[in-house]
C-alpha cells in the first residue's frame, strides 16, 4: 500500500515498517526514526551471530593466535594475522629480515587486490549499473566481470603462493614465515602482475565513468601514515584533524561501546566523536605515498575531492588502491630474494602487545596481554567495521531525507548502495537490508 516511504499527507503518529524482502534473517538491518519528515536517528544493526574470538584466544600461544584470528574474516584473514603478528613481534623485540618485511607487504597487496576487486566488481559496481549482482551484470557486460575476476585471481594467487591457500593461509608466524618462497616461484607471478596493473588502471577509468549519487559531508578520517610507504603494516595512526599516535596507541584516544541494536561494538573517540577508516581515508590522508601510477590516475580522474567528501565514490578509492597494490606487488616480486632464514628466533615476554595495520576496510587494532608463560591472558580486537559504524549511521541519517520521497524500492536501493560503499565486513548482511521507518508526530 505504500508507494513511498513517506507518502504525502500520511499520518505521522504511527510506527511504520517497510519490510523490503520476502525473508529477513536479521543479520543486518537499518531502522530510521523520522519526525516531521526529518530523519532523527539511523541505526545500522549487525546481527551476525557472536563467536567470541577474544575469549577463544585466551590461554593460547602467539602462533596459535595467528591461526585463530584469521577465522574472524574469510575475506581479510591476512589483516587479522598481520595485526596480531606485528603486536607480538613489537612486544618480543623481534626484528624481521628486510626481505621478510617485503614479503609481508606483498602478502598484504594480495589481500587488498582480492578484497578490493571483489568489492568493486561484485558488491558495488552492480549498484551503479542497475543489476542485482555481478552474475546478472556478466550477461550484458561479460568483459567487465571477467576483468574483475582476473584481478581477484591475481590477488588470490599471491596469497596462495606465500601462504598455501587464498583463504586462511598457513605460513605467517612470529618472526617471519614458516617457509619463504623461492625466487623462481615469486618470479612466476610476473606475467599475471603485469596484466593486473593494466587491469587495475582500466578499473580506475571504468569507475570514473559511473554516476554516483550526490551526497557531501566532511568526515573525520583516520588511517596509518608512514614517511616512505603507503600504509600496510607500519606507520602512525593519524587523522584529518591532527591526531598522531603510535600504531599500538589506539586505546589512548579511542574506545568502544555496546549499543543495544548491534552485535558489533561501536568505536568512538574518547569523549565522543565518530570517524571513518578505509580506502577513502587512506587515499585522502596518504596521497603522497601512492605509487606514481596511482597518483597520476588520481590526478587524471580529478576524483580526490569526491573520494574525500562523498562516500558513494569510495569505489574510486578502491580502484586507485588496486593500482597501487598491483604496482607495488610487481616491484616487490621483481626485486625479491629470499631471506637467509624464513623466520627469526624469538622468546615470549610478558606484557601488553598492541599494534594496528591497514586491513582492506581500514585500521585494525589488536591488543593482547601476555602472561609469564607466554600465553594470552586477555585480548581486544577492534575491526574496521565497528569503528566505521557510527560514521555510517550519521551518513545514513544525513543522506536519507534525499530519498524518502522516492518509491520505496528505489529508496532502499539508494540506502543499500550507500551502506555498501563503506564495504562493511557484513556485506552479506547488508544485502538483507530491512528498512524500518519509525515516525513520530
Amino acid at each position: 500500500m505504500h508507494d513511498t516511504l513517506l507518502p504525502p499527507g500520511a499520518a505521522l503518529d504511527a510506527v511504520f515498517e517497510v519490510g523490503l524482502v520476502t525473508r529477513v534473517e536479521g543479520e543486518g538491518s537499518l531502522s530510521l526514526r523520522v519526525k516531521d519528515g526529518r530523519v532523527e536517528e539511523a541505526h545500522l544493526a549487525i546481527f551476525e551471530a557472536p563467536r567470541y574470538f577474544e575469549q577463544l584466544v585466551i590461554g593460547r600461544t602467539p602462533d596459535e593466535v595467528i591461526d585463530i584470528v584469521a577465522r574472524i574474516c574469510g575475506i581479510c584473514p591476512i589483516a587479522y594475522q598481520m595485526s596480531a603478528v606485528h603486536a607480538f613481534e613489537d612486544r618480543f623485540g623481534v626484528a624481521v629480515a628486510p626481505e621478510t618485511r617485503l614479503l609481508r607487504r606483498l602478502l598484504y597487496c594480495g589481500e587488498w587486490i582480492e578484497s578490493h576487486a571483489l568489492h568493486v566488481y561484485f558488491l558495488h559496481a552492480p549498484d551503479f549499473l542497475g543489476y542485482p549482482s555481478a552474475i546478472e551484470l556478466a550477461k550484458d557486460h561479460r568483459e567487465v566481470v571477467e576483468q574483475g575476476l582476473a584481478l581477484k585471481k591475481t590477488g588470490n594467487s599471491i596469497v596462495k603462493l606465500l601462504g598455501g591457500r587464498p583463504i586462511h593461509p598457513v605460513s605467517v608466524r612470529v618472526g617471519g614465515f614458516s617457509r619463504a618462497p623461492r625466487r623462481t616461484d615469486v618470479a612466476a607471478l610476473r606475467p599475471a602482475l603485469e596484466a593486473a596493473v593494466t587491469q587495475a588502471e582500466a578499473t580506475v577509468r571504468f569507475v570514473a565513468t559511473l554516476d554516483a549519487p550526490d551526497f557531501e559531508r566532511e568526515p573525520r578520517l583516520v588511517a596509518l601514515r608512514h614517511p616512505t610507504e603507503y600504509p600496510f603494516n607500519d606507520g602512525r595512526i593519524v587523522s584529518s584533524d591532527g591526531l598522531d599516535l603510535p600504531p599500538g596507541g589506539w586505546e589512548t584516544t579511542f574506545d568502544e561501546e555496546h549499543v543495544p541494536w548491534s552485535h558489533a561494538l561501536q568505536a568512538h573517540m574518547q569523549g565522543g566523536g565518530r570517524y571513518l577508516l578505509g580506502p577513502a581515508a587512506r587515499v585522502s590522508l596518504d596521497p603522497g605515498q601512492l605509487h606514481p601510477r596511482a597518483k597520476a590516475l588520481l590526478l587524471e580522474t580529478g576524483l580526490a575531492g569526491a573520494i574525500r567528501r562523498n562516500p558513494n565514490w569510495s569505489i574510486a578509492a578502491r580502484a586507485i588502491e588496486l593500482v597501487h597494490a598491483t604496482s607495488e606487488a610487481l616491484e616487490i616480486a621483481d626485486a625479491y630474494s629470499p631471506p637467509d632464514r624464513p623466520f627469526e628466533p624469538w622468546t615470549a615476554a610478558p606484557g601488553v602487545a598492541a599494534w594496528s595495520t591497514e586491513a582492506p576496510r581500514g585500521l585494525l587494532f589488536h591488543r593482547y596481554d601476555i602472561d609469564e608463560r607466554g600465553l594470552i591472558a586477555h585480548a581486544r580486537i577492534v575491526p574496521p567495521t565497528s569503528q566505521n559504524q557510527a560514521a555510517i549511521e550519521a551518513d545514513l541519517a544525513a543522506f536519507a531525507p534525499s530519498v524518502l520521497t522516492l518509491p520505496h524500492e528505489a529508496a532502499t536501493h539508494r540506502l543499500e548502495q550507500l551502506i555498501r560503499s563503506y564495504d562493511p565486513c557484513i556485506s552479506c548482511a547488508t544485502h538483507f537490508l530491512d528498512l524500518r521507518v519509525e515516525r513520530e508526530g
Binding site: A49, P50, R60, C73, P77, S133, P166, I167
Partner: protein
C-alpha cells in the same frame, strides 16, 4: 556424520530448468562461500548450469526456497538459527554443509567447553542484547545432511567436484585418506619424523593437499578427523618420549591445544580435547584436568 550420500542418477544439469542453487550462512567467517566466488575460472560457467536464487554475499536476488541444492555455511549458535535451519531443510532437496563450522561447529565450538555466560559478559558490555546459545553445533546435530565438504576453508577443487557430480548425476569423489597420503604424493618431507614437529596429518582427512607440511609446519586438523582415526593414540604418542625430538614427552595441555582447533568438536578430537583440557590453560600453569584420555 553423513558423507557422500547424494543419490546418483538425478542429473540437475540436464533438467529443462537450471537447478536452483542457494547459499546461506550461520555463524561463520564467510570464507567457504567466498571459495565459490574465488572460482574465477569456473564461476560464470557454474552460473550457466545453476540458477543462483539465494546467495546474499553475491546477489540481491533472494528466494526463501525451494532449492534443488542448498549450500550451508556456519555453525548453529543462536535460538533463531535453530529454527531457521529446520525451515531451510524443508525447502531443500539436497542440503550440503560447507566447511568446518557447518560440519563440526567451527572454532567457535571451543565455547562448548567453557562457561558461555562468562564469555558473553567478557566480550559484550550488555550481554542481554546478544542472542547466543551456550553451544556452537554442527548442522547435522539439527537436521539431516546429504553431503559434507570439510575444511577451514573448503577446498576449491572439492566444491567444483560436488557441483560437477550434481550436473552429471554421479556421486562426488571426496577423499577420506589421511593428510599423510597427500603429503607423500606431494613429495613433502615428513616434518613429524624429520623435525619432531607435532602434526595431526595421520588422523586428519585430506582435501587440502597437505598444505601445512609443504609449508614446513604441522597439520592443524582443519579438515577434521578421518573415519576411524586413532586420535587418542596420536595424543598418547605426542605425550610419550618418542613424541618429540628432545626425547621428552609433550605436556598434556600442549597436546590438547593441538586438537582444540577448527574441528575440535568433531569426535574423536572432542574426546582428546575433553581428556586433556586443551581449550586453554589455567592460571596455575596446568590444564584444568591432567587425566589421560579415555580409551576409545
Amino acid at each position: 556424520m553423513t558423507d557422500q550420500i547424494i543419490s546418483p542418477g538425478r542429473s540437475y544439469g540436464r533438467h529443462p530448468h537450471r537447478a536452483r542453487l542457494g547459499v546461506v550462512k550461520f555463524a561463520s567467517c564467510d570464507g567457504c562461500q567466498l571459495t565459490l566466488l574465488d572460482l574465477e575460472d569456473e564461476l560464470l560457467a557454474i552460473t550457466e548450469r545453476f540458477e543462483i536464487v539465494e546467495f546474499a554475499e553475491a546477489t540481491s536476488v533472494r528466494s526463501a526456497g525451494p532449492y534443488d541444492v542448498l549450500l550451508v555455511e556456519g555453525s548453529i549458535s543462536t535460538a533463531a538459527q535453530v529454527e531457521e535451519i529446520v525451515n531451510l531443510r524443508r525447502e531443500a532437496t539436497l542440503l550440503v554443509t560447507i566447511g568446518a563450522c557447518a560440519t563440526a561447529g567451527g572454532i567457535q565450538a571451543l565455547r562448548n567447553w567453557a562457561d558461555h555466560d562468562a564469555y558473553r559478559a567478557a566480550v559484550y558490555a550488555q550481554p542481554e542484547y546478544v542472542d547466543s546459545l551456550a553451544m556452537s553445533t554442527p548442522v547435522s546435530d539439527h537436521v539431516a545432511v546429504d553431503a559434507e565438504l570439510r575444511g577451514c576453508p573448503i577446498d576449491p577443487g572439492q566444491i567444483v567436484e560436488l557441483l560437477t557430480a550434481l550436473i552429471v548425476g554421479r556421486r562426488p569423489q571426496l577423499p577420506d585418506e589421511a593428510v599423510c597420503i597427500a603429503c607423500k604424493q606431494r613429495g613433502a618431507v615428513c616434518i613429524a619424523v624429520a623435525h619432531g614437529v607435532p602434526c595431526l596429518g595421520p588422523v586428519t582427512r585430506t582435501g587440502c593437499g597437505a598444505i601445512c607440511p609443504a609449508y614446513d609446519r604441522g597439520c592443524y586438523g582443519c579438515f577434521g578427523p578421518r573415519e576411524q582415526s586413532n586420535a587418542i593414540g596420536l595424543a598418547r604418542h605426542l605425550m610419550s618420549r618418542g613424541g618429540s625430538v628432545a626425547g621428552k614427552g609433550r605436556a598434556a595441555p600442549e597436546v590438547g591445544r593441538l586438537f582444540a582447533g577448527f574441528t575440535a568438536y568433531a569426535e574423536p578430537f572432542r574426546s582428546v580435547v575433553s581428556g586433556l583440557g586443551g581449550t586453554r590453560e589455567t592460571e596455575d600453569g596446568g590444564s584444568p584436568t591432567h587425566e589421560e584420555p579415555a580409551d576409545a
